[in-house]
Amino acid sequence: MGGLFSERAWAVVLAHKANFIQGFSVTVESALGGILIAAVLGVLLGLMGVSSRKVPKTLNRIYVEAIQNTPLILQLCILYYALSFSGHKIGVLAAGIISLGIYHGAYMAEVIRAGIEAVPKGQFEAADAQGFDYTQKMAYIILPQTIKIILPPTVNQIGNLIKNTAVLYIIGGADLISSTYNFVTGATTGGSYAPAYIVCGVLFFVICFPLSTLAARWEAKLKAQDEMMNA
């Protein structure tokens, strides 16, 4: 046990700190890309989910059910290996970003659908009765009222997405988890399991914790505003 936390082990980790910084930046990069795609897909598919028409609603259900009921790793493998065997090779990072976006897009679609459904029907009718078209109704009247509702689950999804960058390992990614694993099993750097994994964990915590704290504060602020409005 003592060996795990030995000075030598820490020294090896410190000497290779660039390895962790590099992995960290790939994780942040793929997370940011994934969040962007998930947000766009989430809004589009969430709106389709509350549509009164059959086709968009069905597409929403097929997408959400297919994505939520299969593993992210499998989706990534299909995207990466199946595409490359059929001659459409895409980069590891691109594959990671796209599959993270698609996977969390399905969850975001549900978050946004639920948020919109929580807005009273009278709000939609008031907008219709004033002559707002669909886009104006959503942009000015409905979506602003969903923000409070969707904020906490959205931040949850962002946190999960950041942690899920770990799946890049399966296609040989250079994200934080992959670099950490490659480091501790590496021929020249191997063996420093405990310090390496602790550093990796701290780096994840450093992004995820401020995020959830910020969201909690924002939520509290909105709630306080609400109470003021209702006072």
């Binding site: 009278g122 009718e125 008031a126 104006q136 209702n230």
Partner: protein, 242 residues
């Protein structure tokens, strides 16, 4: 004709709620629709702006047939609505509620829209509430704001769907007073679904009585309140007027 319903039928599932309704409303006319609950009064006005699309039949607004395609434009140009539950936008102040549609839909400048908004807030007696959020107001005040919002749209037609049914008894009159003022002064075409018989008697040019999805009687207030001829109407009025 400002509004014309022609052979309008409406089904909710297998429930036949409007049965061949024919109705015309003239420009500037104050039409009041009365009748027991579930008689199709609300559905009738909601068909006028396609909040409910008729299953069958035609709706004409100012001569143009309302379709799924043109409804947004026709409504924007011609009509507003006041709801039982007010339906003010809770994330906006009173002033923002009043200026949103004029600015976004009629491309008025902010100064212009606010000037109009303050004018109508004055009309409903709530100028001092311009910068509060609607949920801080009483039901009666919210409904007066909702009426001001409808006025700010500057529509030729305002539909009122049971505007006082959700209010405390003591605030009903403040809303009715605003509506009476509107009816007496303006040349706005008003269609009002209500249980307030005093209001109907005082402002209606014409009253329509509905039951079971059909119009079974119509006429002037005197026809209803001085010498009602229809037995069903007599029975209804005897119960509702105490």
């Amino acid at each position: 004709m400002m509004i014309k319903l022609e052979h309008v039928n409406k089904y909710f599932g297998t429930n036949h709620v409007l049965k061949d309704v024919n109705l015309e409303v003239k420009e500037g006319e104050k039409l009041v629709i009365i009748g027991p609950s579930g008689s199709g009064k609300s559905t009738t006005v909601r068909c006028m702006n396609f909040l409910e699309e008729p299953t069958d039949g035609h709706v004409y607004i100012n001569g143009t047939e309302l379709t799924r395609k043109n409804r947004t434009q026709i409504i924007r140009d011609n009509m507003s609505m006041v709801f039982q539950q007010f339906n003010l936008y809770p994330h906006m102040t009173v002033l923002q509620n009043l200026t949103l549609a004029p600015m976004k839909l009629k491309h008025k400048s902010k100064e212009d829209a606010e000037k109009t908004a303050y004018h109508y807030l004055e009309v409903v007696g709530l100028r001092h509430k311009a910068n509060v959020y609607p949920t801080t107001l009483s039901g009666g005040q919210q409904q007066r704001i909702a009426i001001a919002r409808a006025l700010c749209d500057e529509s030729k037609i305002i539909l009122f769907d049971e505007p006082t049914s959700a209010l405390d008894p003591e605030t009903i009159q403040e809303v009715l007073d605003v509506m009476i003022k509107l009816a007496k002064e303006g040349n706005i075409t008003m269609v009002v679904v209500t249980h307030e018989m005093g209001f109907a008697r005082q402002v209606a040019d014409r009253i329509v009585f509905m039951e079971n999805g059909q119009i079974i009687d119509e006429g002037t207030p005197d026809h209803f309140f001085v010498n009602p001829t229809n037995d069903r109407v007599k029975k209804f009025l005897s119960k509702i007027i105490r």
